[in-house]
Symmetry: C2
Subunit: 366 residues, 2 copies
Amino acid sequence: MTIVETKYFQIEDVIKLDSGKELKNVQVAYETYGTLNENKDNAILLLHALTGDAHAAGYHKGDEKPGWWDDMVGSGKAFDTDKYFVICSNMLGGCKGTTGPSSINPETGKVYGIQFPVFTTEDVVKVQKKLIDHLGVKKLCVAGGSMGGMQAMEWAITHKDMVTHVIIIASTSRLSAQAIAFNAVGRNAITSDPNWNNGNYYDGEKPEKGLAIARMVGHITYLCQESMHSKFGRRFQNKEAPDFHFDIDFEVESYLAHQGQVFVDRFDANSYLYITKSVDYFDLAKKYGSLENAFSETDAKFLIMCFSSDWLFPSYQSKEIVNALMRNKKDVSFCEIESPCGHDAFLLEYETQTKIIKSFLTKEQK
Amino acid sequence: MTIVETKYFQIEDVIKLDSGKELKNVQVAYETYGTLNENKDNAILLLHALTGDAHAAGYHKGDEKPGWWDDMVGSGKAFDTDKYFVICSNMLGGCKGTTGPSSINPETGKVYGIQFPVFTTEDVVKVQKKLIDHLGVKKLCVAGGSMGGMQAMEWAITHKDMVTHVIIIASTSRLSAQAIAFNAVGRNAITSDPNWNNGNYYDGEKPEKGLAIARMVGHITYLCQESMHSKFGRRFQNKEAPDFHFDIDFEVESYLAHQGQVFVDRFDANSYLYITKSVDYFDLAKKYGSLENAFSETDAKFLIMCFSSDWLFPSYQSKEIVNALMRNKKDVSFCEIESPCGHDAFLLEYETQTKIIKSFLTKEQK
């Protein structure tokens, strides 16, 4: 059992955001696994999804559960710490050690709340770049699932001289209207909770009910019809027949209620607002005129993976990325993995992903 | 322009509910179009969906918009009022004239609220049967989309001597775990709104925010990825670029917010709780041992229609009904209509539905 610790890096420069606003005294929480080599070119930066954090692998002292991608990171694993220096940082706007809306605004001495500036995926990568430079990394692979894949694309485009390999899993170059709609419902649930109090709740009751509802909606989109059917079917929770009241009747209701409840204990509602907004804004085709244009200058080798039952970021969106790269004659590998696990598959189908990622990383090292 | 009026029928008998509880003094709001013939066998009972009401067709005096299925009901239309006596009633538990949680409890003289008993689809049909008997109808066709299709199935099974034709559109014999999950989110949004106040809000502020969120979630499931993309894409609302704030950015957000807002003006939050619960409970296979058993005694002719892009009640669920009827050697017609409109197609694709329904009703009259 590998014990790891989260470390902290204080950025001295001011971060200039896409909105025109600036952020000072940004702190980044991060973890590293493995060792940076002499050439400083064996780094892999892992980019977490919506509610992830810097703790990708290993155990924090006393914890029973390891980091969120522990199945994929370690000696002999997909991201092999015997070979690679693996880094993961909590994203800008998060609530797990990196500066976000729950941090103290140095200008006022008070918690930012919704005075925190709205940021973009580009801004998130700006902060990550400061960390990578701080660690002395010269060349790196970037890898992420879901929203993390968006950041990986942004890295490949903006820092093409540094990025050698890009692994994009269950991701998209832009959200569908339906995916924006689900995020909008989640944000509405939070801001409709009176405890949200226009973002000022850090001294009092938190908007737990609203955040729990946002999480429930999210969980439906991370699974799929098939996986929900096989997990829960129409089984009643601890009974054979309905109770004719409004408590929980079905197992699936109990699951969602549980997911909502545990989430409010570990996540900040304002972070949820900001991060989903940054995801909604991400749109490479709009920014660069077309997806083909977006990738025209990249030098990296790409691995794109998606999952057959992912309906939040469906396979066709990964294929759009692949096609844009192919039209640019880039080095691109693509795999659509048959899986009944929906969008969450990138956190679950680690055996298949491990084979493909190892092959991708090894092949290119020849 | 046909002016119609909603009529009211007071049920004298006590309604014994599936839960074992009883309801007294149940009132039913209904409308009729066309004329009952001498044999009293030309009736068609329309069964509305989750948020529908008795006003299926024609105009209420002064209204700019006609009833919810006006495209389908009238002289020469799918449900041809020159030939048929068309009836539509607001369902038990509704909030448009039929007794529901917003009605006065005769035992206490106060509004029921959540003292209203939880009811089932079977109970809904019991109340409809009282109305049909009151109107003197001897034989009838039952027709409904979505939840209305469930009631149509219940009619065909429970009143096989009366029902000659059954039209089931975009429906299912039981909700998937995913569909129950969406209903659970909607109910949670309502009951999490402090104005819900355990169902006692009729004298004060209503749980409008919670009900609006429930409606927003619902609307996402009534459309589909394709229809949301063609309606809204990723267009910004009245602007070219994001504002970097938490107001509405995208057209799809504006649409959902609007749908939520207009809904709270016309619907009761407690009705939403009760009706979705009755839909979650509906499960013919569980009740009868199998779907095949459920239909074994029916005598009616069936028309089943579904829509290719409906992911709330997907086509496979309609095919399960068709297969169960076929194994019973029943007279069944089936049509899966190619449509980009999602679940809502039963309210929109009236030209195709009209052709199929007219053919179904006419053929059988020979």
